[in-house]
Structures are given as structure tokens and as C-alpha cells.
């Protein structure tokens, strides 16, 4: 007959499958495993309990406030305002540039306007001068 192994023990405990062997050696094995199993069952972690108790009592004394959604909301607000402010800065730069260009245009149009022929002659003269050089 085949002696039991840990797989058989797991099947026995979890799936209620019968054990393939019940000899003294196998019984000893099971006894040892049962003792080991108790170790985790009785796990207490006392250090953590003391810390936990203190923290819970502090929470109960204070407020039931979950900070996570508040942080998330604040973060999203900062993000939205950040984007808005950044886009406004860009926009204001554009407006400033536009103002500058507009003032240049205005200055140009305030000058006495030349007639078409006069403008052409000036253009040709300039070009001829460049070619001569």
C-alpha cells in the first residue's frame, strides 16, 4: 500500500478524500502536520494588535474621515486649475503678440499711402540697385 504524502493530506483536509494509508508511520505524519497547521491557526501577531488598538481608538476619538477621496478631489482640482492657468498664460502671450503686430500695422497704415505706380517704380528701382551691385 502507498504511504500518504502531503498531496493526500491536502486532499483529505480540503476535499474530504479518504487517506490511502492508515499505518503508524502515516498517522505520525498526520499528527505532525496537524500540529503545524495549528501554528498558523493560532497566529496572533500581538505587536500589531497593540498598534491597531491604539490607532482605532485614536480614530474613534477623532473623526471618521476617509482622506483618500479628499486627496483625489484636491489633486484633480489642482490639475484642472493648472491646465486652465497654463492655457491662459499661453493665450495672453498670443494676445500680447497680436497687440504688437496690430500696432505695427496701424503705424504702417497711418503713413501717407503711395499710389500704385509710385510703389512699382520704387520696387523696380530697389531691385535694379540690387542687381547692379
Amino acid at each position: 500500500m502507498k504511504h500518504i504524502n502531503f498531496d493526500d493530506y491536502l486532499d483529505y483536509k480540503l476535499m474530504e478524500k479518504p487517506l490511502p494509508c492508515s499505518c503508524d508511520v502515516c498517522q505520525k505524519k498526520i499528527k505532525l502536520w496537524e500540529e503545524e497547521r495549528e501554528k498558523f491557526k493560532k497566529f496572533e501577531g500581538n505587536l500589531f494588535f497593540k498598534k491597531q488598538e491604539k490607532m482605532i481608538l485614536e480614530k474613534l476619538g477623532g473623526k471618521f474621515f476617509n482622506l483618500k477621496p479628499v486627496i483625489a478631489f484636491a489633486f484633480s482640482l489642482i490639475l484642472i486649475f493648472g491646465i486652465l492657468i497654463f492655457s491662459n498664460i499661453k493665450k495672453s502671450n498670443k494676445i500680447e503678440n497680436f497687440d504688437l503686430e496690430y500696432s505695427k500695422l496701424q503705424a504702417f497704415y497711418e503713413k501717407p499711402i503711395l499710389g500704385d505706380l509710385e510703389a512699382c517704380s520704387i520696387f523696380f528701382e530697389n531691385n535694379l540697385e540690387k542687381e547692379d551691385i
Partner: protein
């Protein structure tokens, strides 16, 4: 003090004292359930705190709890599963956490089979892990586990058998010497 099966409603005058009594009676159970689900002491600690604060709020609202132990088990399991699914856990929990060795405190065994079992339970899906832990360590019946997990008995059996298959496979792959 045994509150099990008692229709519980506490007067506001001695609310804090009663809550402390319940806390002392059940804190170990709640932490154990959270720990067996999450396999992380710090997260289990946080979940246990949340569960007891939920209980305090319920008592504060003068709601009745029919089975305190059942309520604590159910709430702990649900809180753990919600935590696993939560947006915050997905963002802030490091993937490397899953590869870290289980601490000596959670893995106090001398037998290598148990050491491997407890270490590899961490690699199972949370529902499989809870079902196997409750069945194996707490020796709970299938119907009790189904009640605490809010699922059908056949679903519990499926979680256990699939989890067990996966566990055996992982353990075999990891340590060939585990078979003797």
C-alpha cells in the same frame, strides 16, 4: 464574552465600553481572516481597523446585527475583496510585493510542506485563497464558507478544487523534493 447569535443592539450610553469588549473578543479572528486573504500584515491591519470602525458606525446608528461573528467574517472578507479590486490598491501596491517572501511571522512552520503551502497561497486568486484558508486552517464547512463569502456552495467547491490544483502545480514546479 460571547455575542454569537445574539440580536445585538447597544445603548448609546455604554457604546464605547461595549465596542471595546467586542473588539477584544473578535480582533484576532478579524485580523486572521484579513491576513489569510491578503497575506500582508500591514494591509490586514488596515482592513481589520476598517471593519471595526464600520461596526462602530453601525452601532452608532442603532442598527441591529443578528449574528455578530457572521457579520464580522462577511464584512472582513468583502472588505478584503473590495480592497483587492480597488483603484487605490491597483495604483499604489507594488507588483514586486507579490514576489517578496512571506514573513517569518506569517510563515512560522518548521515543516517545508507547510512553509511552501503558506508561501504559495499568496499566488492564488483572493477568493481561492480565502476558501482554502478557511477550509484548511479553520476547518469550516462548505456551507459556512459559502455563507461568509456570499457565494453558492458549488462555487466554494470550485474555488477550493481549482485553487488546490494550482497550488499543487506551483509547489511541484518550485520544489521537486516536496514529493517524497
Amino acid at each position: 464574552m460571547e455575542y454569537e447569535g445574539i440580536l445585538m443592539q447597544i445603548e448609546k450610553d455604554n457604546l464605547k465600553e461595549k465596542w471595546e469588549e467586542i473588539y477584544i473578543s473578535y480582533r484576532k479572528e478579524v485580523l486572521w481572516i484579513a491576513l489569510s486573504c491578503l497575506h500582508n500584515l500591514h494591509q490586514a491591519d488596515d482592513i481589520a481597523q476598517d471593519v471595526f470602525i464600520k461596526l462602530y458606525k453601525i452601532i452608532l446608528k442603532e442598527k441591529k446585527i443578528e449574528n455578530l461573528k457572521g457579520w464580522l467574517y462577511k464584512t472582513t472578507i468583502r472588505t478584503c475583496l473590495d480592497f483587492k479590486k480597488s483603484f487605490w490598491n491597483k495604483i499604489f501596491s507594488k507588483k514586486e510585493d507579490y514576489d517578496l517572501p512571506v514573513s517569518e511571522e506569517i510563515n512560522p512552520f518548521e515543516d517545508n510542506n507547510f512553509k511552501n503551502l503558506n508561501k504559495n497561497l499568496k499566488k492564488l486568486a483572493p477568493k481561492q485563497r480565502i476558501a482554502i484558508s478557511l477550509r484548511f486552517y479553520k476547518e469550516m464547512k462548505i456551507n459556512e464558507i459559502a455563507n461568509f463569502m456570499d457565494i453558492s456552495e458549488s462555487a466554494v467547491k470550485t474555488h477550493i478544487s481549482r485553487g488546490l490544483k494550482k497550488l499543487k502545480k506551483i509547489m511541484e514546479e518550485e520544489n521537486e523534493a516536496y514529493k517524497f
